[in-house]
C-alpha cells in the first residue's frame, strides 16, 4: 500500500504487526474503529510469526505448530477491515499522537486519537570479548534468516547463551537440517534457587509441555555444555575459536566458523522512551519496562503499549494484552456502546494470570548472569562507535553520573542503532561503577527520529512558518 492512500487521521494507529498488534487491530477494526497498522516488516506476523504467509520453509514441522498458528491470526486480521501498511518505519511519535512514518523512501505525518505501541522485543545484548568479530551473530538474526529465506549457516556453528528461545532456535535449526557443534549453556547455577518456588506453575503450563521436547531433542543430537561461566570468541579477521570455562575454571576451546549468541529478550523501548513514557527498571528481568495500567495505558494520554514491549511475557500474553488495549480504545472512542462479539474482559484477565504463573519460573531460571551482561576492560560495549567497557567506567570518574552525560563524551549510543545494542549494558556498567541501582542511573534519553531518515525526506515534509523563530543561533 502506497503512502498516498494513507489518511491524515485515524481513530487508532497500531505500531507493529506481531501477535499483540494483530490482536489489537483485529478487535478494534471489527468494532468499527478506523484502524491503521504501521508495520516495518514486509508482511504481518512480527518476529515470532515472521513471514508466516510467505516463508519459503514449507515443511511445517521445521518451524513448529506455534509458528503456523500465526497464519490463522493473519487471516483474521486481513478480514477485519484494518488498514495494513507494510514497510512502514515509524520514526517519530509525539505526545499529541502525531506519528512520523517513512514508507518507500517518503515520509509523512499522521495523527491518531489512540495509539497502541506493539513493537515487541529485542534480543538482550551479550557483550562477551570478541562478540564484534565477523562470524559472531545473534541467534535471533539466524532465526530471521531461517524464517524469511530458509537459510541456515554453513560451517562449524556453536550456539551459546541461555533462555527458552535458545532451545527453540536449536530445535528449529536441527529440524531444518542444520548441525550445531555445541550448545554452551550459560544459565547460572544460582538462579535455580529463586526459580524453584515457581516450578509447580511451570510444570502445569504450556511452556513446560512445549519446551521439554525441544530441550530433549537438542540434547539428544548436540553436545550440550552446561554451567559455562566465562566465554569469549577469538580470531584474527573472523571468529576461529570459542573459548569457555565452567565451574572448574579450566579453559576449553572449540574451533568454530559461526558463534550464535542469545541470552533472552527485553522490551524494545526506543519509541516509547522517545515520546517520554515513564519506564522503570525491572530487577527480575534486568531491563527497563514501561509503567502501565491494567489496560496497557502509559503515562501519556491516549498511548498504550501491548505485547513484549510492555514487559516480556511471550506470545499468548501478547495477544491477550493486545485485546485489552483494543478494548480500552473501543471504550474510550465508543463510550456506552455494547457491541456483540467483543471478548469478555474478565476471561482475558483470567487467561493472562494463568499464563503468568508458568512464565515466572522461566524468567527467574534464565536470568542472565552478570558476567555476560556487564563486560570489563577492552570488551566493546557500543558497536557503532567502538566504545569499550573501560572507557565507560572512566567517564564515571570524570563526573558523568549516567548514560546521557557519558554519551556526550564517547558518543556511545549515538550511532545508527540508537542504543539498541548497548543501552542496557551501559546502564548496568555505570550502576556497578557507581554502586547504585540501575533505576537511579536511568536509560538513554532517546529522541526522534528513532530510525534514521534522509535529510531530503525530512525536507519534503509540510513546513509551518509559525515554527520559525527570530534568526538566533549558538
Amino acid at each position: 500500500m502506497a503512502a498516498g492512500t494513507l489518511r491524515d487521521n485515524y481513530e487508532l494507529a497500531v505500531i507493529g504487526a506481531g501477535p499483540a498488534g494483530l490482536a489489537a487491530a483485529t478487535l478494534a477494526a471489527r468494532a468499527g474503529l478506523a484502524t491503521v497498522v504501521l508495520d516495518e516488516q514486509a508482511a504481518p506476523g512480527g518476529q515470532i510469526w515472521r513471514a508466516v504467509s510467505e516463508t519459503p520453509v514449507q515443511r511445517r514441522s521445521v518451524l513448529g505448530a506455534d509458528y503456523w498458528a500465526g497464519a490463522a491470526r493473519v487471516r483474521d486480521f486481513e478480514a477485519s477491515g484494518a488498514q495494513y501498511v507494510p514497510g512502514a518505519t515509524v520514526w517519530s511519535l509525539a505526545r499529541d499522537r502525531e506519528i512520523g512514518v517513512s514508507i518507500a523512501g517518503g515520509s509523512r505525518l499522521l495523527k491518531a486519537q489512540r495509539v497502541i505501541i506493539a513493537t515487541g522485543a529485542l534480543e538482550r545484548p551479550m557483550p562477551i570479548p570478541g562478540w564484534t568479530l565477523p562470524g559472531v551473530m545473534s541467534a535471533g538474526a539466524a532465526q530471521i534468516l531461517l524464517k524469511s529465506s530458509g537459510l541456515i549457516t554453513r560451517g562449524r556453528t556453536v550456539l551459546a547463551g541461555c533462555g527458552p528461545l535458545l532451545w527453540l532456535l536449536a530445535a528449529q535449526y536441527l529440524r531444518a537440517g542444520g548441525t550445531l557443534a555445541a550448545i554452551l549453556d550459560t544459565t547460572a547455577g544460582s538462579t535455580w534457587r529463586s526459580a524453584l518456588a515457581h516450578l509447580p506453575g511451570f510444570l502445569l503450563s504450556p511452556y513446560f509441555r512445549k519446551g521439554l521436547p525441544m530441550l530433549l531433542a537438542a540434547r539428544r543430537s548436540v553436545r550440550v555444555v552446561a554451567g559455562v561461566r566465562v566465554l569469549r570468541a577469538e580470531g584474527r579477521d573472523a571468529v576461529e575459536t570459542v573459548v569457555w570455562q565452567g565451574d572448574d575454571g579450566i579453559e576449553q576451546r572449540l574451533s568454530a566458523d559461526i558463534l550464535l549468541l542469545h541470552q533472552g529478550v527485553v522490551p524494545n523501548v526506543n519509541l516509547a522512551i522517545s515520546v517520554g513514557i515513564e519506564h522503570r527498571w525491572d530487577d527480575d528481568l534486568l531491563c527497563f519496562a514501561p509503567v502501565l495500567d491494567g489496560w496497557g495505558n502509559s503515562s501519556i494520554e491516549g498511548i498504550a503499549i501491548a505485547g513484549d514491549g510492555a514487559g516480556i511475557a511471550g506470545v499468548a500474553a501478547a495477544e491477550l494484552r493486545g485485546k485489552l488495549a483494543a478494548l480500552a480504545a473501543i471504550r474510550a472512542l465508543r463510550p456506552g456502546s455494547t457491541m456483540a462479539g467483543l471478548p469478555d474482559e474478565a476471561s482475558i484477565r483470567t487467561q493472562l494470570a494463568a499464563d503468568a504463573r508458568g512464565r515466572r519460573f522461566i524468567d527467574l531460571l534464565y536470568r542472565p548472569a552478570a558476567a555476560f551482561r556487564i563486560p570489563q576492560g577492552d570488551t566493546i560495549v557500543c558497536r557503532c562507535e567502538e566504545v569499550t567497557a573501560r572507557q565507560i567506567v572512566e567517564t564515571v570518574a570524570l563526573g558523568c553520573s549516567g548514560p546521557n552525560q557519558m554519551k556526550s563524551f564517547l558518543r556511545c549510543g549515538m550511532g545508527p542503532c540508537q542504543g539498541r545494542l548497548c543501552g542496557l549494558t551501559v546502564t548496568e556498567l555505570m550502576a556497578q561503577a557507581r554502586n547504585v541501582d540501575p533505576q537511579k542511573i536511568g536509560y538513554y534519553r532517546l529522541r526522534p527520529p528513532v530510525k534514521p531518515i534522509t535529510l531530503a525526506e525530512l525536507a519534503a515534509l509540510p513546513k509551518s512558518e509559525a515554527a520559525v523563530a527570530a534568526v538566533v543561533r549558538g
Binding site: 509525539a94 505525518l109 563526573g399 556526550s408 550511532g415 535529510l455 525530512l458 512558518e465 549558538g474
Partner: protein, 370 residues
Amino acid sequence: MVRPDVIVIGGGLHGCSIALHLARRGIPVTVLEKDHVGRHASGVNAGGVRRLGRHPAEIPLSVASMELWHSIVDLVDDDCGFECHGQVKVAENPAELEILRERVTMVRSMGFTHEELVDQAELRSLVPAISDHCVGAIVCRADGAALPYRTTLAFRRKAESLGVRFLEETRVTSVRRQGAMWQVESTSGRHEAPRLVNAAGAWAGNLAAMLGEPAPIEVMALMLMISAPIERFLHPVIGATGRPLSFKQYRNGTVLVGGGYRGRPNVETNWTDLDFHGLASSAQTVHDLFPVMRRAEIVRAWAGIEARMPDDIPVIGPSRTSENVWHAFGFCGHGFQMGPIVGSLVAELIATGVTNLPIAPFDIGRFARA
C-alpha cells in the same frame, strides 16, 4: 567545610564559569543545580564559538571572550573540543549580500575588524560544497566551534579542583534575606551565603520573581539535529542571512543542523516536544545550500531549554532590587561563546564592584516599569 561566600544558582556554563573565576580569586563558592551540570542548553547547544553577527552591545564582550577561547586550555586544562576553522554567514542573493555589506560597515565603524566581507570566489574556496547560487558571505576567520557538554564539564571540574562545591539535584524552593545572609531553601536543605548569583537560565525568571525583580523571560527550546557520518566536506561553521541556519561538520563526519527553529519546552518536566514541521524547514535550508547533504541520514533531533529576553540580549550585572545579588541569564540562544568572559566579569563585579567591560546594556533595570 568552609561556608561559601557566594552561592551560584544554576550549573550551566555561565554558573560554572562564574564559580571558576570566583574560585581563582580565592572566594569560596557553592553551586546549586536542580538537575545535573550541563543538563540543559549549556550541554546540548550547537557549540558555536562565534563573534560573527553579534548584537552591537554584545560585540565587546564576545571579542574579549574569544581571547579566552584561544587559550582555553590555560583556563580549564582541557581543549573543550575547540576547533578554529572560522564562521561563515552566506548571502543567497545580491540583496542579502547588500545586508551583509552594511553589517560589516557597521561593525568596522565600532572599531572592530573581525568580520570580513568575501566574494563568491572566496566563499567557494572556503566552502567548496556550497550551492552555486550563493553570492558571497561574511567570514570571521578566527571563530570556530567547541563541544558544549565537554566544555561545561571542563569548567566544572576546574572549578571543583579549586574548591568549588557542586550540589546537583538541588532545586531551589525559596530565597530570603536574613541579616547579612541569603538563606536559600532547596530540596537538599538550607544553604547560606552573604552573596547570591542567579545563573538559572530558563528558570532564572522564577528566581528573579522570588527577589521581587521583573525579568520578562520567554522560555524557548531551539531544535537541533545530527546526521550519521559522511565524508568530510566542510570545516567552517555556516550560517545564512535570509533564513535561520547553524550548520557544521564534526571531525567524525557527523553533521549538526540547527539555527532557530523551536520545539515546545516544559520547564516543570524538563521535556521538550519537537516540531517536525520546523525541522522540515531546517532540512529544506540545508537541502538548498548543500546538495551533498540530501542523502545524509538524520539520526537524532533534540532541543535545549533556555531563556530569551524581549530585546534578544542577556541580563548581566547586579540586581536592582536586592543587595548582594548578581544576574547572568537570558542568553537567547547565543550564550555559549560568552561563557568564559561572563564568568570573568561577574566574578570581577562581585570581588571589586566594577568592570572595564561595557555592560550597561545588559542591566536588568531596563525591564523595570517606570
